[in-house]
Structure formats: C-alpha cells, structure tokens
C-alpha cells in the first residue's frame, strides 16, 4: 500500500481487497468484550478537522483507540483559509510534535493531497473528506457493507453488482470516492440526479448516468441515497424540496421496485423526508446503522495498514496471490 490514503483512485484492486479483508479481521475485534489491539501502541495519530464532523471524527477516534494509538483531536475550524494560521503552519506544528499520521477533514478540495505531497510533514495522511473531492474511508466502508450483503467472503470483489448512487453528485465527495472504488472492485455504477447536480464532464467517469430513478431501481443491487442540502434550491439546482422528493426521493413506493435482495444505503447525515422516507431508512433492507459500525472496522484497517506495516493484525496477512481466480471473478 501507499503511505497515504488521499483518493480511492490511487487504490489497486489488491489494495482495496486487502483493506476490506483486513477490516473483516478488525470487525472480529470489535465483537470481543475487550475491543482493543496493541498494534499502534506508542504511535501518535492526529485528527485534524477544519470542518465540523462529529460522526467521522468519532469513528476515526474509536478506530484509533481500539488500535491503542495515542489520539490527539486538533479542531482547527475556521483557522485556515483567509485568516489565522495557515494549513502549512498547522502541519509544521504537528510535524514538530511528532505525529505519525494525520487524519484530515478540510473544506478545500485537495488539501489532503497538498499535505501529503508537501514537505510540511512526514507522517501518513488519511483523507477524512476534502471539499467536494473525496472521502475514501466512506467509500471503503460502503464497499465493505455491500460486499457483506452482495458477495460475502474474504478476497471477494463486487464484480457485476449494480450500484445506484442518487442525489447531489455534484457536491458529493462520497460519490466521487465511490465511483472510483466500485469501478476498481468491478461493480457497475449508475449515478442518478437532476442534470443540474451532475458534474460537468461526467461522461469521462467510469459509470453510467441517468435522470430517471424509476427506470434504474429495478436493476439495482444496492441504492445509495446522498444527502441533498435544502439550500441548494436557493441556487436554482432544483425548484423546491417537494419537487426534488417527488422526482428523486426514495419512498416506500419506489423502494418496492427494488429487487428483493437489494439494500438501501446512506452515508449520513440523512435528511428524512427529503431524499429518503423514514420508513425506508428504518426498514429491514436499510444498512444505514450497519455502515456506521463498519466505518470503525474500515478505519482500523486503513490505519493499521498505513502505520502497522508488515506486522499481521490478528492472523498472518494472507498474500494477495492466494485469492483464487474463481473468487476473483465472482
């Protein structure tokens, strides 16, 4: 694996499967009475959050503590961009304090890559969401959740599984990371959104695009609903919340069109009644709470692989070559 996790586009199929498989091992730890491994004892991990995100920060913090890392939460909200301390000075400070890894959430697209490629600090950089660019650990936990439901088993990918991502793709870092990763894992991705919320140049992405949710749902093995912020309608991305819900919201009637085995996902936080009806969010096919649990396992796996290096986590790490081609092709 590389030293940083900035974009899912950087992950090979082997990298991605190694993370998913390692996360399965980490998930076992989380079911024990004592949910702790000594792997990162003595290593310092800084959660550098320039944006509020209680959910993501807490998930990383739990993962770090379960690996016995020394955890520092550095909330830098409002300290960069235009006033106060710069990203560079913050990074130099963390470097001087001996951070082994920095988990960064930043409102500016590209800030984690900047950090990783600068000489401002030498530790590993984990992108915890940057602007409207990427959110790789979210995509990994989504893929982990999909694999458990759609093709369970170590070493397996998502070959041929049909994944539909619905909503504000334009402003979504989750969608971008998912498109790259799901493509790498062999899934067939379809983005569904009003044309105003589809990024310019999407034709070059490894996925299909549709404006018609009803046409796509019967052919979906998983449907992922993205949050749609109400204020988008003020910038004329769509006329009203009501119309958005009518055309792109997942209500009970639409959900009934899904194949029986299909799962409903949401990266959170949800706007109930906007992009997803409560009865669907709380239904048996919803994996929304499970995704949160899986997030901890994935983040443990990522930190372990970036920082723990060659030492096996639980059992000896299985070399990638040991996967059978049969498994691979499923």
């Amino acid at each position: 694996m590389k030293r940083h996790l900035v974009s899912t586009a950087d992950l090979t199929l082997d990298d991605a499967l190694l993370i998913l498989d390692t996360a399965e091992e980490m998930a076992q730890v989380s079911t024990r009475a004592v949910k702790k491994l000594p792997t990162l004892r003595g290593r310092t991990v800084v959660n550098l959050f320039f944006e509020d995100s209680t959910r993501t920060r807490t998930s990383f913090e739990v993962a770090e503590k379960r690996l016995s890392a020394d955890v520092i939460n550095f909330s830098a909200k409002g300290s960069s961009v235009s006033k106060g301390e710069t990203l560079k000075d913050t990074a130099l400070t963390l470097q001087a304090m001996g951070a082994d890894a920095v988990v960064i959430r930043h409102g500016a697209s590209g800030a984690p890559q900047r950090l990783a490629e600068s000489d401002w600090l030498h530790g590993s950089v984990v992108n915890a969401g940057d602007g409207t660019h990427e959110h790789p650990t979210q995509a990994l936990l989504d893929a982990f959740t999909m694999r458990r439901h759609l093709n369970p088993g170590l070493g397996r990918d998502l070959n041929g599984r049909r994944i539909t991502i619905v909503g504000d793709v334009l402003h979504s870092r989750v969608a971008r990371s998912n498109v790259h990763l799901l493509h790498t894992l062999g899934a067939e991705v379809t983005l569904v959104a009003p044309p105003t919320l589809v990024p310019y140049g999407v034709e070059s992405w490894p996925c299909a695009v549709s404006y018609d949710l009803d046409a796509v749902l019967p052919k979906s093995d998983a449907v992922m609903m993205l949050r749609v912020q109400r204020e988008r309608m003020n910038a004329a991305f769509f006329p009203t919340q009501r119309e958005y819900s009518l055309r792109y919201g997942l209500d009970a009637k639409r959900a009934a069109a899904l194949p029986e085995h299909a799962i409903v996902m949401h990266p959170g936080p949800m706007v109930r009644g906007m992009e997803i009806a409560s009865e669907i969010a709380d239904s048996a096919r919803s994996t929304i709470v499970e995704q949160v649990t899986n997030g901890v396992s994935i983040r443990m796996a990522v930190l372990y692989l970036l920082l723990g290096g060659s030492e096996p986590a639980l059992s000896p790490a299985r070399p990638a070559e040991s996967r059978t081609t049969e498994e691979h092709s499923k």
């Binding site: 960069s80 961009v81 235009s82 710069t86 990203l87 560079k88 930043h106 409102g107 500016a108 697209s109 590209g110 800030a111 890559q113 900047r114 490629e117 940057d130 602007g131 409207t132 660019h133 990427e134 870092r173 971008r176 990024p199 310019y200 140049g201 999407v202 034709e203 070059s204 992405w205």
Partner: protein, 428 residues
C-alpha cells in the same frame, strides 16, 4: 552616453549584420562596421528584436510592495527583453485618478529599466458602477490611453457601453477582463472533466465568451475600440475572428501560459497553476496558438501577477490567482510558436512589440529595427536550453509555473533608447 556596436546580430532572424547604437537611436546598420570607440558586443548567433512591449503587467505598487514594486517589476521586465510595460490599475489605492497614475508613471521614470505606461481604471474602485475620471487621466502627465478594470469584468452592459463611447474623445481603448461574474462565483479552475473529478468549482468557457460576444457588438454599435485581455478559449477566438471579419475595431491578447499549459496540471492541486482566467484544455491551447499565428489575436501579454509565497504555499481554494511571467514570456513564445513552425521571429516582433505598442498608443516603442529609429532592442540567444530557476528572477515574487521546466531561449541584452539595461543576461 556609451555607444554600442553590436556585431553579427540576426535582425528578426535574418542575415547577420552589425548595428551601431548611438545617442539613443540606431545610428547605422551594415556589415564590418568599425568600432569607433564603441563598446563592442559579439552577437554571433543572436537574434535582434525590437524591445518587447507588454500590454498587461501587474506591478503591485502602490499597495502591495511585498509582492512587487515598480522598480523590481521593471527590472524583471528588462531581463525578459521588455522596454515598455503597461501597469494595470488594480493597485491599492486603485489607479482610478490622475494622482495615482501619475505616481506610477513617475516611479517608472525613476526606475529607468523600462518605460512604464499606467493603465487607468474604467470605474471608480474597479467596482463597475461609476466611471472613473477617464479624461483627467488621459490629460495627466501619464497620458493614459488604455483603461481596464482588469481583475474584474465591467459586467454592466450600460457602463461598458458608456466607457467605450466616452474614450473616443481622446483616442482611448477599453481593455476588458471578460468574465461573467454570476457564472464564475467561487470558480477555482476551468470547468471541464478535470474540475469535475477534482471537485473544484468550474470557471466555464461560456463566462468569457458571452462577455466578449456582447462587447464586440457594443463596440461595433458605438463605433469604438475594444481590446480583449487574456483570451483563453477556442470559442473566444471564434468570436474575435468573426468581429474582425466585420471590420470592427477589436484587438486581443493571449498570455504565454495559455499558449503552453493546460488544466491537467491542476491535478497536483499546486496553486502555482491557479490563475485567472484559468488554464484551459489542449484544444484551447492549440486554437490560441493558431489565432496568434494568423493574427486574430494581436499580441502576447504576460499578465505578470506577482504574489508573495504565503499566498501560494497553501491549499488551492485559499491561494491567490496569478503567475509571474515577464522573465519567461519570450522563451514560452519561442517554444510554442517559433519551434512549432507557426511563427517566425518577424512575427514574434510583430506580436510582442509592434502591435502591443500600437494598441497602447506608445509612439516611441514597437518601431522597426532600422536606422534613425529609437534604439529599443533585445538580443536573444535562441539556441540556449535550460531549466527555469526562479532564484535567479529579478521579480520580487517566485510564483512561476515553470520552475524546473526546460524552456528554450535566453535574453542576452536589452537596450532602452541606446542604454543597456541588461548585458550578458544580467541587469546593468
């Protein structure tokens, strides 16, 4: 005053000849000229061009002397082969009064490295609402003829119309920064496949093209002169070509970076590539080169935009827009236009000296390299190859996109009215 005898220079790339510079003019051109006590410069293999004229330079003084001053900026200009620059109006305070343009003009006189022709703001404070005192700036010692709110677009159609009409009284021209503001709110880079992937808000080509289309029609309607700053898209080229075919009085410039670099470079998120208008696509670059070669685009203008390191040593969204360009402009033109076979050295002289001087109304610049003309000259070594080293720059800032990049050509000497400002590649 020192007189110079330049031996075996290839004027506009022609056969080697000797030039004698004396009393501020080119006194003699021929072969085997006697030195007659002149300082002899061996120009074997060097090209002689008329001193370059930049229509678009940000000298930052007054107000941002941490980025550039008139002195450091004109030293950079001389090193780049320029003998005249047009100083843009977006200073602090804005150059929207006779007082400020005269201050910049006077600082230019004192620097002595090249002529500094101030550009006046079109509207007070560049705010696009009320016309600045254009006539007073025209009548001032700075004799302003080019007016621009550069950095901002004169987006109000009525204000633009009035400005175009008003400057006819004193032979002025409005240089428009074409950027529809609503289409570019928060824009970070060219809107295209790369911006979609990087999650950076797009600056669509239509935001430039729609303003240029409106402005050429306005200029035609009121019978006035329009100059379009830093044209960056293939679509803009088509509109300007159409306007010129109608016989309308429209001129345009392109920057060196838009002739060479594309938005693919933004994938690094390195703000050294952040500039306004943004780097576009390969197709745009090729269209701009073609337009410069066929004369649709009249001039190369640097849009030299110095920024202190802290404004670039940060995340993309927080970074300032702009690149320094005076000291690399000629090399980029050599690489993109001469070495591609699109233009000869005479064309380079036309697009970087004669035409920009004519657009700016500078009578003593952009003249032919011939006897009795002002001795504004640059000697270029076209065979030179080397990596750009910003540490050697004369500009106060280092925000170049070419650090470490191999570019051809090197300015060996620059003469301003017979006086050397650069010799052996070093400032005099």
């Amino acid at each position: 005053m020192t007189s110079y005898l330049i031996k075996n220079a290839r004027i506009l790339g022609g056969e080697p000849q000797d030039l004698r510079l004396k009393d501020g003019v080119i006194a003699e051109i021929g072969t085997y000229l006697a030195d007659d006590g002149a300082t002899v410069i061996d120009a074997e293999g060097l090209i002689a061009l008329p001193g370059l004229v930049d229509l678009h330079t940000h000298l930052r003084e007054p107000g941002r002397e941490d980025a550039e001053t008139v002195l450091t900026g004109t030293r950079a200009a001389a090193k780049g082969g320029f003998t005249a620059v047009h100083a843009m109006a977006n200073t602090f305070p804005v150059a929207d009064t006779a007082g400020v343009v005269e201050q910049v003009w006077r600082l230019g006189k004192e620097s002595g490295y090249c002529d500094v022709q101030p550009v006046g703001a079109v509207t007070i404070g560049l705010e696009g609402k009320q016309l600045a005192e254009l006539g007073t700036m025209a009548d001032s010692a700075a004799a302003v003829r080019v007016f621009s709110d550069d950095g901002k677009c004169v987006d109000d159609a009525v204000i633009m119309r009035r400005a175009l009409e008003y400057v006819k009284a004193f032979g002025g021209v409005i240089a428009q920064h074409a950027q529809e503001p609503r289409l570019t709110e928060g824009a970070q880079m060219n809107e295209g496949t790369v911006s979609g992937e990087l999650g950076l808000r797009g600056w669509p080509a239509v935001a430039e093209e729609s303003i240029i289309a409106r402005d050429v029609l306005l200029a035609a309607h009121v019978g006035s002169r329009l100059h379009v700053c830093h044209v960056s898209t293939a679509g803009s080229v088509e509109i300007i070509r159409w306007a010129k075919s109608k016989g309308w009085d429209v001129t345009a410039e392109v920057t060196p970076h838009h002739l060479l670099l594309t938005d693919e470079l933004v994938r690094s998120y390195d703000p050294v590539y952040k500039v306004n208008p943004p780097l576009r696509t390969e197709a745009d670059v090729l269209a701009l080169r073609e337009a410069l070669a066929d004369g649709t685009i009249d001039a190369v203008a640097t849009d030299h935009a110095p920024h202190p390191s802290e404004d670039k040593d940060c995340e993309w969204a927080a970074a300032a827009m702009g690149m320094v360009g005076l000291e690399t402009a000629l090399s980029v033109v050599q690489q993109t236009m001469v070495e591609t076979g699109l233009m000869g050295w005479a064309d380079v002289a036309d697009r970087m000296s004669r035409r920009p001087a004519a657009i700016g109304g500078l009578t003593g610049q952009g003249r032919p390299v011939s006897v009795d003309e002002p001795a504004n000259l640059v000697l270029v070594d076209p065979a030179y190859r080397g990596a750009v080293n910003p540490d050697s720059f004369a500009t106060r800032s280092r925000n170049t996109p070419y650090r470490g990049r191999d570019l051809p050509g090197r300015v060996v000497a620059t003469f301003l009215r017979g006086r050397a400002t650069v010799l052996d590649g070093e400032l005099v």
